[in-house]
Assembly symmetry: C2
Homo-oligomer: 239 residues x 2
Amino acid sequence: MAGKRDDAANKRQQATGAHAKSAPKPRGEPSLSLERIVSTAVDLLDTEGIEGLKMRQLANRLGSGAMSLYWHVGNKEEVFDLALDAVLEYRPPQDTAVPGDWREELVHLLEDWRACMLRHPWSASLLPRRALGPNMLARLELLSRSLSGAGVAETDLNVSIWSCWNYVIGATVTRASFELSHEDMAAAQQRLAELGERYPTIGRTGLLMDSDWDGAFRKGLDFLIDGLSSKQTPAMTEG
Amino acid sequence: MAGKRDDAANKRQQATGAHAKSAPKPRGEPSLSLERIVSTAVDLLDTEGIEGLKMRQLANRLGSGAMSLYWHVGNKEEVFDLALDAVLEYRPPQDTAVPGDWREELVHLLEDWRACMLRHPWSASLLPRRALGPNMLARLELLSRSLSGAGVAETDLNVSIWSCWNYVIGATVTRASFELSHEDMAAAQQRLAELGERYPTIGRTGLLMDSDWDGAFRKGLDFLIDGLSSKQTPAMTEG
DNA sequence: ATGAAGTCTCGTACGCTGTACGATTAATTT
DNA sequence: AAATTAATCGTACAGCGTACGAGACTTCAT
């Protein structure tokens, strides 16, 4: 309820407009801006983790007072929202692959998505609460187009999109949580050994020790796509 | 570093032992216990949400002082851990289905898993950070056995387990996050309409308005299982 | 009986958090 | 010159998790 009160739209002009030179303050330090705040927040999250992001320290890194941030963002939650979406920006590949290979394209899209979030593990723990910033939507759009181009029937399109989404989100969230707590992993395996009679199967297959996450992601993804493409429109099965 | 210092093992005796009658305090109020704390925490989380769980209020509901809780749990995080796993307890079905239908069994297992968490939406936002309590492990064991019985090759077993896990977690996390923020959903659809030229495909198919989550979960799950079972050992394809 | 050693409860206090509020300054408009 | 607006930030406050230590009650060796 301060002086701004239209979310962050007034900043948007500045963002779409020009560089920082035309900003209202051409003085020495670059002053504050939404972009600078968000990118610094991402840095801070990368180094300090999700509970290391504190408004005071964020302001410190920006060389400003803590309360100055509140001119640009409504509250701390908004910083999280913006940081998450910022991390999800999609940089298209450098076109090394065959353009027609829709399957490779789809796999790349989803693997990049996961890799993108694993580069910033905190983003996974943010996911359950918020979503659907512009970059997220852009990725959904790409996914949708890719599946559509792959010949998935219009009827199954939404379901297919959500299936891929679910798989990626689940895999990322899981991987990130295990990455954060290595000793929990060991403890769990220990418990598995002790209570071997209670969990015989997952004890035997060494489920929790199987640490080739990337490979498992890819293989499972192949299974999923197999399932999806078995329902694709016959005309586009491609030869 | 207080008086207890063996996690919560001393409570375990009490838990496995007998009812509250044999507890050291047979007086009027039931006094405190790990079980009571956890189940009250679940109630509190259900009614107040994830940020409504405060140690003082939890203690209040239990009719005790805030610091008394710390005899039974190490810290607030531990309460979250225990609450999450408590919610994941598996109650096996009442055997109405055909015992041999592994696919139905698998689907039931995963649908129940999701339903179980959606009954307590906060559990989804807890997932990224912690996992693998005993009930979680039990579910993994069941899943593993089910897939194994379904004829999935030993080589593909772990990958299949993780694929199902990923799908369920992703679907649950997504669903829970959308449930919590209905207006975000509307706002996103609004943005989709405005920026129709930027997101044509997902705008056209109405991805975000397609709110038959349960149906989509089931259909996507069928796709996934199709993919998994196409690789099963030929001997057990069943007729 | 007596005292020591647990087991368990809880009042007080501390450091830290997000942020409400209003003063302050600089830029822009009138 | 005066007023309005945009932006910064110091102070203050309520609420949080929990460290600490004092107590009450039980159990048990003497």
